[in-house]
């Protein structure tokens, strides 16, 4: 009567550490980790970066002061090398998911456009079970790829520009200064920056959302409680809007369209001491 379970002999279930399958599995995990963590790292860097660039809002002095501080301590030089590496590592690992063939890419786009009516449990009251809308997360991914490609180009240019700045400083030049930056931005590069800003913030926002969903959804965390799509989505949207607004205002200042709005505030605080 008992069912024979000996169909799967010992050898098959006994593996050693070095087996091919194990090594392959390890590599897959490593790739996923690298693409995820470099992405998150870049996103965190962008927050810090934004803090630095937006210091222009409080006036040129602060901007110059911080730039000088970083360059002086060689932090800027280290960072730009590190970031450039991370930037390309992320590009290489993350884009392993992008289908090579045009037909496949078209397939995804087609599906993204045609799948409708996700029930969208996480932000919908039960009015009706079926609500017809395009499936946003699939479409977001398509735009994530597109924005990533844009970042690759625009970001490289930007890295080259600021890189030369920093290099000049190391060779005894002026380095990054408010004057130089405003000059650049004002002379038309603002176009590049607006594009880069939107791409980066969008890409990072969606990336973080996806990252959180991939690794933490359903987990009980202190303060937040259970991680849900609804919560992560809300956080993502908040961050996205917040940084785009700051970025745009900063760009406007850099382009000389408006005066640094926080300059007087800064002056009050520091009591005109600078």
């Amino acid at each position: 009567m008992p069912i024979n379970t000996e169909l799967y002999p010992e050898e098959e279930t006994h593996h050693n550490q070095a087996s091919d399958a194990y090594q392959k599995a390890k590599k897959a995990l490593r790739d996923e980790r690298i693409s995820g963590f470099t992405g998150v790292f870049l996103a965190l860097f962008m927050w810090g970066h934004m803090l630095f660039v937006s210091s222009i809002l409080t006036g040129e002095q602060t901007f110059n002061f911080i730039a000088d501080l970083f360059e002086h301590t060689w932090l800027a030089q280290i960072t730009i090398i590190l970031i450039t590496i991370v930037f390309f590592v992320h590009f290489v690992t993350a884009s392993r998911k992008i289908p090579r063939g045009l037909r496949d890419r078209k397939k995804i786009i087609k599906l993204g456009k045609s799948i409708k009516g996700s029930k969208n449990r996480w932000n919908q009251e039960i009015t009706s079970d079926i609500r017809l809308r395009n499936h946003s997360e699939t479409i977001l991914w398509i735009w994530q790829v597109r924005s990533g490609m844009a970042i690759l180009i625009l970001g490289s240019i930007h890295l080259f520009i600021v890189g030369t700045d920093i290099l000049q400083r190391s060779l005894g030049g002026a380095g990054i200064t408010a004057l130089e930056s405003t000059g650049r931005v004002g002379s038309g590069l603002w176009l590049l920056y607006v594009a880069l800003l939107i791409c980066v913030e969008f890409h990072a926002g969606v990336g973080l959302y996806r990252f959180a969903v991939k690794w933490w959804i359903g987990k009980q965390l202190p303060l937040v409680g259970k991680v849900t799509r609804r919560k992560t989505h809300l956080v993502e949207q908040f961050i996205l809007i917040f940084f785009i607004i700051i970025g745009i205002v900063t760009l406007a200042v850099l382009a000389g369209l408006i005066d640094p709005p926080l300059e007087s505030l800064m002056a009050d605080v520091l009591g005109n001491s600078i």
Partner: protein, 241 residues
């Protein structure tokens, strides 16, 4: 009530010579509490005797009737026409092999998936007919059941852009099956075996988080939670080595 519904149905019979895919329209008076199951059967009995589609249980439990209804992969038997606009577009599920009209071959894919994930309890213990059963915590039993509820309808696969491009990817249903087995104390597969099985590009890292699976699953399975559980578990296994 009193609406006249227009069904636009994808028609193609691969077994018929010279048949080419097309969309045909049928009209029908809407009746009270009409669902797509009843509607399609009525159409077959009155207007299109050769219309192909699959229903078995017509109660939302066997998973036969997945199709694209106005662009959404879902179970036809539990879709009420009153929830839909007057024009109802029906397409077969993408991804699976088309057998004809609205009927696709899900059986083969799921059997292969079961073979790939070795979807049975791996145990060295022989069953002893005389012994009392092994004890199990009721909470664990409930947890296993939660994942076991998948009815293999294929909607999650039809909605997932990734699996359409990488057919080797086990998809949400496959990963869910693995999650179910990982949680089962009776399955004696060790960390390393799980690691090799699921820490791959056709396993959990094939998923890029499109999340459509979670949105369309008619059984409301917590698919994303299963994936993140698996990811964390793999990480833990790797770190502990």
């Amino acid at each position: 009530m009193g609406r006249t519904l227009t069904f636009k149905i994808f028609r193609y019979n691969p077994n018929k010579d010279n048949d080419s895919p097309q969309v045909e329209s049928y009209q029908m008076e809407e009746t009270q509490r009409l669902n797509v199951f009843t509607a399609l059967n009525t159409l077959r009995e009155t207007q299109a005797s050769d219309l192909m589609f699959d229903f078995v249980c017509r109660a939302g439990i066997c998973g036969s009737c997945g199709m694209m209804i106005n662009g959404r992969p879902t179970l036809a038997c539990r879709t009420l026409t009153s929830d839909l606009p007057e024009t109802i577009e029906l397409y077969p599920l993408p991804f699976f092999k088309l057998l004809g009209d609205l009927s696709v071959d899900t059986g083969i894919w799921f059997r292969e998936m079961a073979e790939k994930v070795e979807s049975w309890i791996h145990t060295q213990e022989e069953f002893d007919p005389q012994a009392t059963e092994e004890r199990m915590d009721n909470d664990i039993a409930n947890k296993i059941y939660e994942a076991e509820r998948c009815i293999e309808c294929g909607c999650c696969l039809a909605g997932c852009a990734t699996v359409q491009v990488y057919p080797d990817f086990l998809g949400a249903a496959g990963l869910n099956r693995i999650g179910r087995l990982m949680n089962d104390p009776r399955d004696q597969r060790g960390d390393q075996e799980w690691f090799e099985l699921v820490s791959t590009e056709s396993g959990v890292f094939g998923c890029i988080g499109m999340m459509a699976c979670d949105d369309v699953c008619p059984k409301d399975l917590p698919l994303l939670e299963v994936f993140s559980y698996i990811r964390r578990k793999l990480s833990k296994i790797e770190l502990s080595k």
